[in-house]
Point group: D2
Chain length 358, copies 4
Amino acid sequence: MAGNSFGEIFRITTFGESHGTGIGVVIDGCPPGIMVTSDDFDHEMSRRRPGTGAFDTPRKEEDDVEILSGLFEGRSTGAPIALFIKNKDARAKSYDYMKDLFRPGHGDYTYYKKYGHYDYRGAGRYSARETAARVAAGVIAGKIISRADMVVTAYTIEIGGVGIKTKDLSVIMDNPLCCPDMQMYKEMQNALAAAKKNNDSLGGIIEVVAKGCPPGLGEPVFDKLSADLAKAVMSIGAVKGIEIGAGFNAARLKGSENNDPVIPGGFASNNAGGILAGISNGDDIILRAAVKPIPSIGMDQATIDKKGNPISVRAEGRFDVTAIPRVIPVIEAMVRITLADHYLRSVITEKYRELMDH
Amino acid sequence: MAGNSFGEIFRITTFGESHGTGIGVVIDGCPPGIMVTSDDFDHEMSRRRPGTGAFDTPRKEEDDVEILSGLFEGRSTGAPIALFIKNKDARAKSYDYMKDLFRPGHGDYTYYKKYGHYDYRGAGRYSARETAARVAAGVIAGKIISRADMVVTAYTIEIGGVGIKTKDLSVIMDNPLCCPDMQMYKEMQNALAAAKKNNDSLGGIIEVVAKGCPPGLGEPVFDKLSADLAKAVMSIGAVKGIEIGAGFNAARLKGSENNDPVIPGGFASNNAGGILAGISNGDDIILRAAVKPIPSIGMDQATIDKKGNPISVRAEGRFDVTAIPRVIPVIEAMVRITLADHYLRSVITEKYRELMDH
Amino acid sequence: MAGNSFGEIFRITTFGESHGTGIGVVIDGCPPGIMVTSDDFDHEMSRRRPGTGAFDTPRKEEDDVEILSGLFEGRSTGAPIALFIKNKDARAKSYDYMKDLFRPGHGDYTYYKKYGHYDYRGAGRYSARETAARVAAGVIAGKIISRADMVVTAYTIEIGGVGIKTKDLSVIMDNPLCCPDMQMYKEMQNALAAAKKNNDSLGGIIEVVAKGCPPGLGEPVFDKLSADLAKAVMSIGAVKGIEIGAGFNAARLKGSENNDPVIPGGFASNNAGGILAGISNGDDIILRAAVKPIPSIGMDQATIDKKGNPISVRAEGRFDVTAIPRVIPVIEAMVRITLADHYLRSVITEKYRELMDH
Amino acid sequence: MAGNSFGEIFRITTFGESHGTGIGVVIDGCPPGIMVTSDDFDHEMSRRRPGTGAFDTPRKEEDDVEILSGLFEGRSTGAPIALFIKNKDARAKSYDYMKDLFRPGHGDYTYYKKYGHYDYRGAGRYSARETAARVAAGVIAGKIISRADMVVTAYTIEIGGVGIKTKDLSVIMDNPLCCPDMQMYKEMQNALAAAKKNNDSLGGIIEVVAKGCPPGLGEPVFDKLSADLAKAVMSIGAVKGIEIGAGFNAARLKGSENNDPVIPGGFASNNAGGILAGISNGDDIILRAAVKPIPSIGMDQATIDKKGNPISVRAEGRFDVTAIPRVIPVIEAMVRITLADHYLRSVITEKYRELMDH
């Protein structure tokens, strides 16, 4: 009810805030028998960490995931898996300047209106730090879907208006932006450098492809796979749009163009983005998310203080030029979690079919 | 779990299929004291009916909403409100041609893969007819949010690539496409006429504005207002993309451009689309949905039959050139339902604040 | 949230009130392929009907179950099954005498306190009539569990303090009280006759046995099978107590007496009532429910009116001497629904085990 | 779905196992502004600890509650409160004797059947240790209901068949059994001494009274306050029965005896146990729970090993003679949690009434 849970069968509940003790997640509904160690989380956690991009302000934020429950002899038991990540680098002082005003583009204003207060120390519960718990849960989700040979990959296709021209997924780990076009990656870096020089920030577009999804994931009506993916991705603070397959471009195609012809073994095209009538069709699932530029920028911006008086604010301390590299692992995590949930939900339908034949 | 419910506090569960007895919805969590009569549904139900556009195949589908429960002396009591709409125009014969094949762009293939069967009589549960129940529930939701002076309006801003150039909401009821630009409405009609001549179909983009939303709607983390709106709108079969405020364009703006300056009483711009950090900020909520072209078209399309053999199919019987006019009231309904749910959820936070001050 | 739903996977939502249009239920999560016809409901519905006991006030309340959705060619499809039972015998006049006062032992007082009003026409939503929808849903649940060879039987073991001395389940359909001891049945009838003569009413104890339950039904911690059965049975208005297996008597046994020795193939005794640590152990599930006497009696009782003034009330119109015969099919229905839900939930665990071995 | 959560608005999710890192709980939906410190938990946690009774095997199990999230400047913020209790006294060796067999009366058998394995180290997830998390959550729930002047007290009314004859709640903290009759307390101690001498164990009956509950808590139909209390209490492993108010005795009363006459300001008697038609009536809520004797006893008991061979088992290491003193704070916690949840749910109905009058 209070919105801290996601998923039906594979259900995560996150807790914790920036500048508190730490961030955590309880995963309920994880199948037993899955091998998990603390080290499994390191790679994904380091990808989500801020300050790893070439133009990011470096800071040390070691995100060791502590496993509080749910394992026996190194494997999941079916009991809830609780994961916890201690906060380490909590320099609250950097935030003093914004104690009594609303930073433009942040949740300060809306939280103040909703709750009568807000956490000026880096946003508290609505800090991007909360996504660390999602990335940790996404590692477990990834183990589940990989059993069914599903692989989720996200990458940057546009930053600050600079888009890719070719798509070679084999190079995305060769550059910090996870860009599949090394040529345009350089252009993106130029755009970021220019933005940094101007104390400004950039957004971009992330594409996600999920390969190996079996047909049949997703429920009719409200819990369509597409609907749950939309919610999952839109629940990331920086995301302002999502599209599946041809997406907004589908609105410009004719029916004869947009329909994917069915051929033996699958489809001749993939405008559907792998989802037909809300249910996976066995083709690659493809979605794109629009990420807004980071609102904290090093130039003066007009805002008001808590009393309603106009005032100017300029971000101090550390901030990145773009959120894209950090959002990529979070989007991957949310897509994995959504697929794991629907994969496990599809179990019930499958069993129903067996019962029916019985 | 089976995906037929939506909402937490204001919770709807739809049932029924095309070509069955009818379509219905149970609304649980409706406040008592709301005046409701059968006539209240007529206007919205008639808007959703197919065959009302200039280029639509006319057919009679009177959607009278029967109130099965939840009222006493004309007012809601707080008990579940069940609404039922009988199916009347069930000419199943038109669907015989597609009994053993998968129509491109429809759910036939995915339902067959998921369930081992599918309802060839106009799609059954995954028919657009299911949305009649949503529109009926949306009428009740509309009554709730109108108490808080919220007004939701959807309109067409693009069809077949033809977009509006001006936006005058006062004219949207003067044309069947709900287009706010009478000049471009004519262009859209031309595009539809051309598509109809070619036995093809068109999609488009619908924009929704919700005026009068108080700040504070939406929960942190997963149940952000933006996330729930995304799910609500993406759960409509024809929708392939959704964006809020500047949306995909926000990805191309700089932080200094995209941030909405806070001014006394609100914001100087609305790139946020009325939602900051997932919570309404008091400004207009603005979202856009990409609607794909109707997959049923009157020309030959490649597909396979159930045995996997290539075959050609051409839609017979009635079909529209575009779904846009029918999708508009459904989107409005889903946005109203989402707002009603979050408005009632905000009650709890408000009460918590009173308890706190107590 | 508003409390009109029960179950997680096999989820029912009831709607409707006495003296409204009718009573209904939506069943979400029913497996496809189950044969259902309207006639399937007749037997159970007639058992729940008032006025069928020897000492009951006869009234005609034909409860025909109309199937509104969820079937195709006579079988469930996996879509929600909506069932509706029209109200026929709505003689609202009988209730005029109680319009402005609170009947002792009824919900009038608490509903008035909660909602500021109550439905004086036979209780509205809190009428026992609501249970008709549960019985209808229980018929579908019964079809599911019977596939797994589970059989649920309820019977009377005590009325007005008169308890059974032998237990022969083969005779329970031979008497209207479903008493498994024909000798004591006569005593019970005598007790009922005496109560009727005094314009009074009697309660009793119903025992339920569920045979054929596989081990493994129930979840750890909160959704123990025992906990969900307790909720299911306690959600019936007239029930004031529930015990499983040895129940309250277990509190008087020593550990060495109460423990059921494990033997090859099962257990040497069944004090556990078929449930160990909240999970079915393969033995018969046995529970007992205490049913209070019907509060409507034909003698003067002290109460107050809405203004708080003392007043006397005496039930007019129809009322039964005991609710026992009507509660029996309702308890059976709730136990079947709970078992169906947990049976379908166990599917997930089973599938998890297959995944683990995979 | 996996059964580790309880409550709708005030929702707890427990995690952790005996002999793992620890036990914890996430509380979602806690109102902001509540003062909480680690010390607040000490009293209740110490009551739940084993080995505190006169006849208990002493062992050190300091249950310090660590607050992982949800507080800012000492008060709840509305974000999830995560609490964690480290396991300290994990002498796994004591459990070796039972590694390959099923202890009678424990969950070993059912867990093995359900999951294909079980945690022989003190039961893992189904250990009574899990209730430590409930008691911690109950402390927060207690703070919420105390704002509305609700007070929950549990006490022993029967042990091993020895029942109280008087009821003086002022003495329950003067004896380790929380018995309100000091005279019969001594008899209970004698019974426990005799059982201990025989290496046997005893059960008993716990009564709970909740004073100060406002009328109107509870939802109609399935989420009756009585139904949710039944589930809450039955979800405690050792409980085999629950009754409310007159409970099983109500089944033996006549309607004229059982009905509580309504008088100005309340009721002349309380056979209803404070709940009418599932909703609190403003009177004391009274319930009783039957607690079975502890299954681990120091005498030989017949069972089978995993291969199905008959074998004898005798509990080794530490075990108590009765669970009663430890179950009392757990029952109190579950009742407080249920009341807090329904109290916060009643907020919505209240607000609805304001909206209606508006």
